[in-house]
Structures are given as C-alpha cells and as structure tokens.
C-alpha cells in the first residue's frame, strides 16, 4: 500500500503548529520549525513526482484535487516556506538579543508560521470553493497574529488595518461563493458537490451568466483585496513594513500568489459561463491601475520594506494584467512571473532583513555601505534588486518581455503605460538601493552570521529560470496555461 504524500503535505505543517504551540519556546523550537518545513517540502516534491508520472489526481472523496496549475504552486509554496524558516533562525536570534522578541512571542511566531503554511497549502490543494474561502480567511487570521507580533503601536495599527480591510474583502468573496453555489446548484443539484471545482468545471458552460457575472465581481473584489490590487491595497505596505521580515517574505512570496490563484480558478469558470471577456477586462483594468499607481507610490517611500511592498503590488498588478489578457502565451508568462517574483522578492526580503538589523533601522537613508559591512548581504540585495527590476538574464526579464510583447499585440494601448511604470520603478528602486549597498559604512556587526544561503539559492533559481526553463517545468506551465486560457 502506498502512502499518500498529500497527507504529509497537509499533515506536517498542522502537526508542526500544534507541537510548537504546545512545547512553547525552547532552543530547539527553531529546529522543529525548519525540520517541519523541510518535511513539507519533501512531501510536496513527492506529490509533484507522482502527478508527473500519473497525471492529475483526486484524493479523499474528491475533496482534494491536484492538477498542473496547483502542483507547481504547492512546490513553490513549500520551498519558499522552507527557506524562510532557515532565514528566520539567525534573524530571530538577533531580534531576541535586541529585545524585540520574547519567548512567548517566539512561540506564537513559530506556531503561526506553520499554521500559515498549512492554510496556504490547504487553499491550493482543496477542490472545494467553500474550503478555499475558509483557508484564505484562516490565512488572514494567522498572518494578523504574525504582523502584530512585536506589539508596537505601528504594528498593532498595521495588523488592525489588515484585519478589518481583508475581513471586509474576504466577506465579499464569501458572498461571491454563495452566488456561485446558487448558480451551480441549479445545474448539478445540491447533492452533487456543487462547490467542487472539478464538477463546476465540467458544467461551466451551463452556469447562469447573470448570476456568474455578479459572483465573479464579488469574488474578484474579495480575493483581489488579498492580492493587494489598487485601490484595495492599503493594508499591504503596512503589514509588510511593520511585521517581522520573515513574515514580509512569506506575505509577498506566498499569500499574494495564493490569492491570485483563487481568482484564476474563478476566472476559468466565469470565462466559459459568460462567453464574453468580462473577467479578463476587469483583470486588465485593475492590474494596469495597480502597476501604475504602485510605481509612483514606490518612488516616494523612505522605508525599505515599504518600498519593496509597493514593488510587490506592482508585480501582482502585472501578473493580473497578464492573466487578464489571456491566451496561452500571456498566461504562461503570468505563471512564470508568479514563480520568479515569489523567489526573487523573498530573497530581497531576506537581504533587507539582515541589512536593517545591522543598521538598526528600516529607513533607507540610514543604511549605507552594506558591501563593506557584509559583502554577501550587499551583493544579495543588489542582485536581487536588479533581478526584480527586470534586468536580463534573470527570470523576471523573460516573463516581463513575454508580457509586454503580448500586450503590444493584444492590448497595444496598455504598453506605454506599462513601460512608463516599469521605468519609474526602475529609477526609484535602483536609485535607492545603490547608495545603500555602496558608500561609507557605519553598520555594526551582528552577533550571529546572516543566513545568506537562502538568498543566493533563490537568486540562482531566478537566474536559471531566465536562462533555461527545465523541460518538465515548461511542460507544467504549458499544461496549466492551456487549462486557464481554455
């Protein structure tokens, strides 16, 4: 009898959260944390290997479903969670010595980190649109606790804003889910698992277009709040800037991706039900607005984590735009961009975390000469910034190039706006990061060596995806793109 790797993918983080919550903070808690994340990653790889060899599969009475679209996100999620847990080891040791973390807070942090991984993986793997909603809401709750872990006035404010805004947003998504269920029930009946995505996918052409239009509007606004699309983005920079840096890394690297994944699933149904590009147009509009607005806000920031948070909004806007344009090439580019953005942005946050610990501040003007104080962190930040700005040969260049060329063909009016925004972002980020890395230094040495390995592993993967997409990965993207683009 074979053991289902799915059980481990979901079971390990959940068990990890319980154990870490029960044992409290011990010196070995961080080992449990990274071991659990490593185990999850291995299980995710096993799951992937199985899907490659056997094709899409169901599990547990069709409640779970694994196909090319979600399996690559599962692996990515487990991988970034694992490297983040490695990064948080030295980071949290320093925070304890600076008096910002106490044993009780560390216990909360470790336990919630695992629970957050669990909710992300559950959201990706579930076949049930209702459970998807439940998992997204649970992800909000765990990250609220993670953002507010320092208990400073600013972090409480950020967490409150996050809770209220995302709470309201996600409530809209619930209303959308109710409407979706209503539309589905008329076709498949209430006994037939009317919220299971695979069932909906089979009957998507028969769903009532009027109900689906309204349902998609609510779902898009709801999950769009979590993606951080302008004008629903207000919570995102605050939550990124005021929480611990590992949390910023997983927010940008995982949460935004998963929320976008939820929108994608809904879009597939909507497109087929409506026979009109309503969903795509909505995504193009909001995506473009996010890219442009975020680029201009980004150039006015002084706090380094806020700046990169706006950069996440910009990139999420770009991906949403790409999915909105639709078609196999744009969708392929969107999926590729999701992957590289998640890798590169989390590596930037790792470097930024170490840099701001050395400087004792997140204000960019006060961080100077990283390359002398700590060459590896300095190079990590510099290369990461160049990569996220779309410099060749990194992967972001490849995906942005694909998105722009498709945009020129399909939506020519949007191309100048995109180029303008990318230019503004380039000038702003490069102009800020350059003096942070070079120049005279007044930085102190930290008592614990920084975790530079995760930074360079992520950058290396981002570089690889720019030069060469391995055939099996390429195959996945193609299959997923075909599925999404219809």
């Amino acid at each position: 009898m074979t053991i289902d790797p799915l059980l481990f993918v979901l079971g390990i983080p959940l068990a990890g959260a319980l154990i870490l919550g029960l044992v409290g903070h011990r010196p070995f808690a961080r080992d449990i944390n990274s071991t659990a994340s490593f185990g999850t990653f291995i299980a995710a790889c096993a799951l992937t290997a199985r899907v490659i060899s056997e094709g899409p599969m169901f599990a547990w009475d069709r409640e779970f479903f694994i196909d090319p679209l979600n399996v690559f996100l599962v692996t990515l999620t487990a991988f970034v969670a694992f490297t983040t847990s490695l990064f948080s080891r030295p980071y949290m040791k320093v925070e304890v010595e600076h008096g910002k973390m106490t044993p009780r807070r560390l216990r909360l942090y470790h336990s919630m980190f695992q629970l957050f991984s669990f909710t992300m993986l559950l959201a990706l793997l579930t076949n049930n649109m209702g459970i998807l909603w439940v998992a997204m809401e649970a992800a909000t709750l765990t990250t609220v606790l993670l953002v507010s872990v320092y208990r400073t006035p600013a972090s409480l404010e950020a967490a409150w804003k996050y809770f209220i805004l995302c709470g309201v947003g996600i409530a809209q998504a619930l209303f959308g889910t109710v409407l979706l269920y209503m539309a589905a029930e008329k076709v498949v009946g209430s006994e037939g698992g009317a919220l299971l995505w695979t069932h909906l996918d089979q009957v998507k052409g028969q769903l009532d277009p009027r109900i689906i239009t309204l349902a998609f509007a609510f779902l898009f606004i709801g999950y769009g709040t979590k993606v951080g699309l302008v004008p629903l983005h207000n919570w995102l920079p605050d939550a990124h800037a005021e929480g611990p840096t590992p949390v910023s890394a997983v927010l940008s690297g995982l949460l935004l991706n998963v929320a976008l994944y939820a929108i994608l699933r809904c879009k597939v149904l909507t497109d087929a039900a409506l026979q009109s590009p309503m969903a795509g147009q909505l995504m193009i509009g909001f995506g473009l607005l996010s890219v442009v607005v975020a680029a201009f806000f980004l150039s006015r920031q002084r706090d380094v984590k806020r700046m990169f948070a706006y950069s996440s909004i910009e990139h999420m806007g770009l991906i949403t735009f790409a999915f909105g344009v639709g078609g196999p090439i744009a969708t392929y580019a969107g999926l590729l961009h999701m992957t590289v953005h998640s890798l590169i942005k989390s590596s930037i946050f790792f470097a930024v975390g170490h840099a701001s610990q050395k400087a004792g501040t997140q204000i960019m003007e006060e961080i100077r000469g990283l390359i002398r104080a700590s060459p590896l962190v300095g190079w990590g930040l510099m290369l990461g910034s160049l990569a996220i700005l779309g410099m060749p040969p990194f992967g972001v260049f490849a995906s942005e190039f694909l998105i722009l060329t498709t945009a020129m063909r399909e939506q020519p009016w949007a191309t100048p706006l995109l180029l303008l925004a990318l230019g503004v972002a380039f000038a702003a980020i490069f102009g800020r990061v350059q003096p942070m890395v070079f120049g005279e230094t007044a930085l102190r040495r930290l008592p614990h060596p920084p975790a530079v390995l995760p930074v360079f592993v992520h950058l290396g993967l981002g570089l690889m995806l720019g030069l060469y997409v391995p055939p099996y990965l390429d195959q996945w993207y193609r299959q997923a793109a075909r599925m999404v683009a219809g």
Partner: protein
C-alpha cells in the same frame, strides 16, 4: 402552507433588516450588543423556518451552530470584553446619524436592484430575501466605516457575517456542512483574536479610538 412559511421567512428577513438599521443608529455599545444578539435570534428563526419548510435536515444543524455561536457565545465574549475594558460610553460617529440613515436607505435600494434579477432565478422558498441579505451586508459595511471606535467596528464586522449567513440560507438552503463548519470556526477564532487585540490596542494607546491608528500613511 408554503405561502405561510414564505411569509414567515419574509417577516424574519424584515426583522433582520430593521435590526441592521437599528445598529446603524445606535450610540451605546451595550445596546449594540443587544441588537446583535437579537439579529442572531432572527437569523436562527429564519433558518429553522426554512429548514422545516424544505425538510433540509442539515439546516437545523446550521441553525444550532448559529444559536450557540451568535446568540450565546459571541455576545457573552463581547460583554466580557467591554466589562474588562470599561467601555460603556456613547459612541461618536464620523457622520451624523440622520445622514447615515439616509445613506443606508440608498444602500438598501441599491441592494434590491442588484439582487432583483438574481433572486428571480432562484428556485428556493426564500428567494425574495436575497436583496435583504445583501442590504444587511452593505449596512454593516457602512457601520464599520462610520464608527471611530474599535468595538463598534468589530460588531459591524460580525453583523456583516450575519447578513452573509442569511444570504446563504436564503439563496441556496445553506452551504455544504463542511464549509459552514469552517466558516463558523473562522468567525469564532477571529472574534477571539480581535478580543485580545482590543486589549493590546488599549495598552499601547490608552484608548480604543481608531483615529489613533492613522499614523501609517501611503
């Protein structure tokens, strides 16, 4: 017989909407909690009637969860929180109450218009009430925007959830059981976290005025 049940459901839906307006106009935190409890009761009653009329056994369960959670547990938690925090004072609103009510009326009309074509398609006994459910959601949303204190914002959030629950019961005879359990769990955990949060905010700012939480801009 089914006409009578239809009327009963409409009646409870109307009560729900009336209570939403009541909350919008209420200045006292204690009364807000009472109104919230009543709203929970109306929701339970409406769900039970739908369950009886349509013989959907899982809706009884859903009504039971609502009863325990929204009529007993959450109001009790809220009472405890405001006792411990000592916040029984009147609430300042950011917009004066008559204006709020007028905007509320506009919202209801909007919600009815939005829901009218949809509810005509529904085959359930309670189809006329989808507009009311949407109106309740929007009114609670409005309440969250216009209140400057943390506790009323939380109550607005909970009341919005009531509206959504009613929408699910009215439009589709409730969501599948596993989803409903998940939602109930999320709401419960959410309110516990918010409760803890209120204490932290008080500790840091010596007040529960959300206007203190406006330092982070852009």
């Amino acid at each position: 017989m089914s006409a009578l049940f239809g009327q009963l459901i409409n009646l409870f839906a109307a009560v729900l909407l009336l209570l939403a307006f009541g909350m919008l106009s209420q200045r006292k935190i204690l009364s807000l909690i009472h109104l919230y409890t009543l709203q929970g009761l109306a929701l339970v009653a409406a769900t039970v009637v739908v369950a009886y009329a349509t013989k959907q056994p899982h809706l009884y369960w859903s009504a039971g969860i609502t009863l325990v959670l929204k009529v007993f547990l959450i109001p009790w938690l809220l009472h405890r929180v405001i006792d411990r925090l000592g916040v029984r004072w009147d609430i300042e609103t950011l917009i004066n109450i008559p204006t709020t009510m007028l905007i509320g009326v506009v919202l209801v009309i909007f919600a009815f218009n939005l829901a009218a074509p949809i509810s005509a398609l529904s085959s359930t006994i309670a189809r006329g009430t989808l507009g009311i459910a949407l109106a309740c959601v929007l009114l609670s949303f409005m309440m969250m925007i216009t209140r400057s204190k943390a506790v009323p914002q939380v109550i607005g959030f909970l009341s919005m959830e009531n509206g959504l629950f009613f929408a699910a019961a009215a439009a589709t005879y409730g969501m599948p059981m596993v989803v409903e359990l998940g939602i109930a769990l999320d709401v419960l955990v959410g309110i516990l976290i918010l409760g803890v949060f209120l204490f932290h905010i008080r500790e840091q700012f010596d007040s529960l005025d959300i206007r203190h939480l406006e330092k982070l801009k852009e």
